[in-house]
């Protein structure tokens, strides 16, 4: 959290980053079953898009329900480029980032220009996603309601792999980059300004912070990260349609993994997504009831909001004695 931005702890966080990265790298070699690797891929995927939500929602306090829209733009961008124009999905990845950023910028500029904040902003992002969904449902270009099926042609150049391990490594790289982005944000002037905006926009303005521009900038960044998640998802499942690309369930999951893990923190989304992945895969193997994991997850959310309002990450902070105290004044 931005509270703990002190120079002395930098070497400690370095070791933490390294340890987590090593664990993530070792995981697929320790647990080699398809089930385990798929679990890892999904956990990292939700960590990636959760982190994208966290960049704007957690660090900058711009609560969006519409992040799945940027995910959808990314997914459609790389898939359409590939299917209609024969562009390699590897090039589709940066294109998806661009599409995600563009859609986020579009939504951000329109909403922030109109001065929408808080729940109004959340609602308008929801509305945008519905519009995107309806359009993609009715336009031939996006495959309309049928969606787009990417033909299975396994090969590195097609971003398709026989071994799921390759997907695991790719999503690990993407997620690691998103974590690095969050870590940079935590330490940088840009991140400090976003924290100021999150806490008090008027006071931020009074200190010379260009609130509008900074908010648009973080939405662009967040949208880009989310867009890459869209491209990865399309390549992993080889299929997208409007209800996947613009389905609100993903928006909610992005938001939940951040909130449960700890919004505005570097590792919150990862922590939340690991839990979500274990819960959803775990409950699926016990019971056939659809969505049982979300029931459990919802219950867990209530418990966490009641007892750990800053997310699971608090548990780890409580172990460390070095945190500053002094709330007794």
């Amino acid at each position: 959290m931005s509270q703990s931005r002190s120079g002395a702890s930098h070497s400690v966080t370095w070791k933490l980053h390294l340890a987590i990265l090593i664990c993530a790298l070792a995981y697929p070699f320790l647990f080699t079953s398809n089930f385990a690797i798929n679990l890892g891929v999904m956990a990292l995927f939700y960590a990636l898009i959760g982190q994208s939500w966290n960049l704007s929602g957690g660090f900058a306090g711009q609560l969006s329900f519409g992040h799945v829209g940027f995910f959808g733009f990314g997914a459609y961008a790389s898939t359409i480029l590939q299917l209609r124009y024969g562009v390699s999905p590897w090039l589709g990845l940066p294109a998806a980032a661009l599409a995600g950023a563009a859609s986020a910028g579009f939504v951000a500029i329109l909403s922030f220009r109109a001065g929408l904040k808080g729940s109004y902003f959340a609602l308008i992002t929801l509305a945008f996603v519905e519009v995107f969904k309806i359009i993609s449902n009715s336009v031939e270009f996006t495959g309309a309601g049928l969606g787009l099926l990417i033909p299975k042609k396994i090969g590195f150049e097609n971003f398709q792999f026989k071994d799921r391990l390759a997907f695991y490594l790719i999503i690990l790289i993407l997620t690691a980059l998103s974590v690095a982005t969050a870590e940079w944000l935590r330490r940088s002037r840009f991140g400090a300004r976003l924290a100021a905006i999150r806490e008090n926009e008027e006071a931020a303005q009074a200190l010379g912070i260009d609130v509008f521009t900074e908010k648009v900038k973080i939405m662009l960044l967040s949208g880009a990260v989310c867009g890459t998640g869209g491209c990865f998802f399309a390549q992993y499942f080889l299929y997208i349609d409007p209800s996947i690309a613009f389905g609100l369930d993903k928006s909610v999951e992005m938001l939940l993994v951040s909130m449960i893990g700890g919004q505005g923190t570097v590792y919150g989304p990862l922590l939340g997504s690991i839990l979500l992945a274990i819960l959803s895969e775990g409950t699926r193997s016990i019971s056939q009831v659809q969505g049982l994991s979300l029931v459990l997850y919802g219950g867990l959310l209530i418990v966490i909001i009641a007892f750990l309002p800053h997310g699971l990450i608090e548990l780890f902070k409580k172990i460390k004695p070095s945190q500053s105290r002094g709330t007794d004044a």
Partner: protein, 239 residues
Amino acid sequence: MLKVQGVSKSFGGLRAVDQVSLQVEQGQIAALIGPNGAGKTTLFSAIAGFHKIDNGGIEFEGKPIANVAPHKIARHGLVRTFQITQPFARLSVIDNIIIGAYQRYSDYEHARAHAEGVAEQLGMTKILEQPSVSLTVVGRKKLELAKALATSPKLLLLDEVMAGLNPSELLETIEIIQKINKSGVTILLTEHVMQAVMQLSSYVYVLSYGQVIAHGAPQEIVSNPKVVEAYLGREIVDA
């Protein structure tokens, strides 16, 4: 340094600020006083760009700043504080001040060093790591001042930084403001605490019902019948 000419601002049918003109010279401490609801805070907000004005002109260092975005005015070196303190609640005291310091320095180390210097100047070194929500009134008022000061402003608009302080805190704050002024920062302040106004300011404007009803040296002001009337009302003699 600051020139306000014929500025008016209405909210609906209410003229909060009515044809106000005033001037602040470089290096000065000027005060803006007046009864509650006279329009002091509205005028401050207008100067700092938070309210659009209906007519009139505002110049800062010779450049027109009326209706310019607040963050741009702040970057020119005209920074306001808020009467109702506006801390970045979930950040620690030092992180609050660093936000201001980041206007001057782009890297964390320099910004932090600058912020610590400001905190020391205001006697806040002991509370740096506290979350700002946990501060007492005087702590919050000081933090409000510290954030603004950390941006290295040329002109500070202080909106009632001394309201709610006890006598010893008051003396300390007066001293701090004098020190800030001596370091080269021009100050325009609003205040109800007359002791502070008398001790600090070299020129006073009195606002009542949105209009400047008197201005001059503080000693002249307190004996001005118009000012006494604005604060206490008229004597009922001929009734």
